[in-house]
């Protein structure tokens, strides 16, 4: 318990210390998770909407498949990406293993199904109505999609926040494909895992608090943006 309080104090100290390494870790975390979330969003939001408003054979199966992918364990994603991009793997020539790029790829695999799934669910009910309005007013396919995104923005926002939360908090995948290499691929979560295994609970909790503060900040910004629009 004391350690939790100590950790909170350390967190502030840590932030105020302007330690280059800490800022490097925080910066890399943000870079990796935001890139992964943004790329995922661009693909997953339209996919989730299409899944909801289009009818096609095997749709029920695809939906359940997406739901299942929402529980993809990060370690497995990490492992598969590792095997694909490792030196001897089929995509080894790209040489991205143990780089932030590999971490982004792995997180995209984790975040995408989550965003697709939540967007799908939010669109299912109201999507048809919006689509009808767009079509009757002469919108083409692309314009209809844009309108759907605009109208369903609250739900889409929730989806992205959830996906981003997954990205910033997960450790299994980035640990395997990034390797937690100091000064290179060490992010907040892998640092926490390492510190914890070294028994340095205080610093671990301190970084955890920094992570949460950052999440709060990012959520607040997203939230503001979304509020202003509506």
């Amino acid at each position: 318990m004391g350690q939790i309080l100590e950790g909170t104090k350390s967190a502030l100290m840590l932030l105020l210390s302007f330690d280059r390494e800490i800022y490097g870790i925080v910066g890399l975390s943000l870079y990796v998770t935001l890139t992964a979330s943004i790329i995922s969003s661009f693909v997953a939001v339209p996919l989730g909407i299409l899944l909801a408003v289009k009818d096609f054979p095997m749709k029920q199966f695809v939906v359940r498949f997406v739901y299942t992918m929402m529980s993809l364990p990060p370690v497995i994603v990490g492992l598969v990406i590792f095997l694909l991009f490792s030196r001897s793997g089929p995509l080894g020539v790209l040489r991205i293993i143990y780089t932030p790029t590999a971490m982004i790829v792995a997180q995209i695999c984790l975040v995408m199904p989550i965003i697709i799934g939540i967007v799908y669910n939010g669109t299912k009910e109201k999507g048809r109505e919006i689509q009808e309005v767009a079509e009757t007013l002469g919108a083409n396919k692309m314009q209809t999609l844009v309108l759907l995104i605009k109208e369903l923005r609250i739900n889409i926002f929730a989806a992205i926040v959830t996906g981003y939360g997954r990205a910033i908090s997960e450790v299994g995948a980035v640990m395997i494909v990034g390797g937690n290499i100091r000064g290179d691929t060490r992010v907040m979560t892998t640092a926490i895992a390492m510190l914890k295994s070294q028994g340095d609970y205080e610093t671990a909790i301190a970084i955890g608090i920094v992570l949460l503060l950052l999440s709060f900040l990012i959520n607040s910004i997203l939230y503001k943006l979304q509020q202003e629009e509506s």
Binding site: S86, R87, S88, G92, V93, L94, R95, I97, Y98, T99, G179, N180, I181, R182, D184, M194, K196, S197, Q198, G199, Y201
Partner: protein, 264 residues
């Protein structure tokens, strides 16, 4: 195309002066590598990227050609690795030793009953059903422990034998929490000692000797392996300067060396 691969080589992470080192969690957890590797980079220009994994995975990554060099502590497995041509040659780098740690008051009186005989100590666990935690993760430490049981002819089973399947640090914490006993390398134990209610119960048995070795991965595995960089690292580790730095590590903080250099 060849051109594309060359392009990658220039920006790639293990060409030029950068190598990938797979090592066990104990070297990372103790902080040794963080301490000495920056000096290596200064001296030689070789940048070492450390991936800390279990011994099992470290050797597997070597076999797959994923890393350039391995630093581990499971001599038997390492020798096999070289014999199977996955590595060029194995070098001794340093050693430390394993210690049996347990609650400060030593409820099973193992310190007294077994003196410095680890085999005797282990046999007591089976009889008294005092909690013993095993790494259970196929690591160097785990392999050493299994060998001890084998020598004893005991197949450890039962509620007293807790197989954790985790790294050294985590298992020490579990031991602390469950007020049990476990085998740890001295370095990791010392680096965590200040947060623990655990003491060294038994040490000094010759069977608890823990030798670290370094192996460069066979460059024939694929074109991406940086054999030259690996050899620079190995030579530096075995050099007088490298060995000296290893010996100094821990002196200021613990008043003793955590690793004793013993390159031949």
């Amino acid at each position: 195309s060849q051109g594309a691969i060359d392009d990658h080589k220039e920006s790639g992470q293990s060409t030029g002066n950068s190598i990938l080192l797979a090592t066990t969690t104990s070297t990372e957890n103790s902080g040794l590598l963080d301490d000495i590797l920056p000096i290596l980079t200064e001296d030689t220009g070789v940048e070492v990227k450390v991936v800390a994994v279990g011994t099992g995975q470290a050797l597997q990554m070597g076999k797959d050609g994923e890393v350039d060099v391995i630093l581990a502590h499971s001599k038997k497995a390492e020798d096999e690795f070289v014999q199977e041509d996955h590595g060029i040659q194995r070098f001794d780098v340093m050693y430390n030793d394993f210690v049996l740690i347990g609650p400060k008051d030593d409820p099973a009186d193992i310190g007294v009953l077994a003196k410095n005989d680890i085999l005797k100590a282990l046999s007591i666990f089976q009889n008294t059903e005092e909690t013993f935690l095993s790494r259970g993760d196929d690591s160097g430490t785990h392999k050493m422990e299994l060998q001890l049981w084998e020598t004893l002819g005991i197949d450890p089973k039962g509620r007293w034998y807790v197989s954790a399947g985790q790294g050294m640090g985590a298992v020490i914490q579990m031991t602390n929490e469950m007020l049990g006993y476990t085998l740890s390398d001295r370095a990791t134990y010392l680096s965590m000692k200040h947060n623990l209610d655990l003491d060294i119960i038994l040490e000094g048995d010759g069977m608890l000797f823990n030798q670290y070795g370094v192996i460069a991965v066979n460059p024939n595995k694929n074109v991406q392996i940086n054999y030259e960089g690996a050899m620079i690292l190995i030579e530096w580790l075995l050099s007088e300067k490298g060995q000296g730095l290893i010996g100094e590590f821990g002196q200021s903080e613990f008043g003793q060396s955590l690793f004793i250099p013993n390159a031949k």
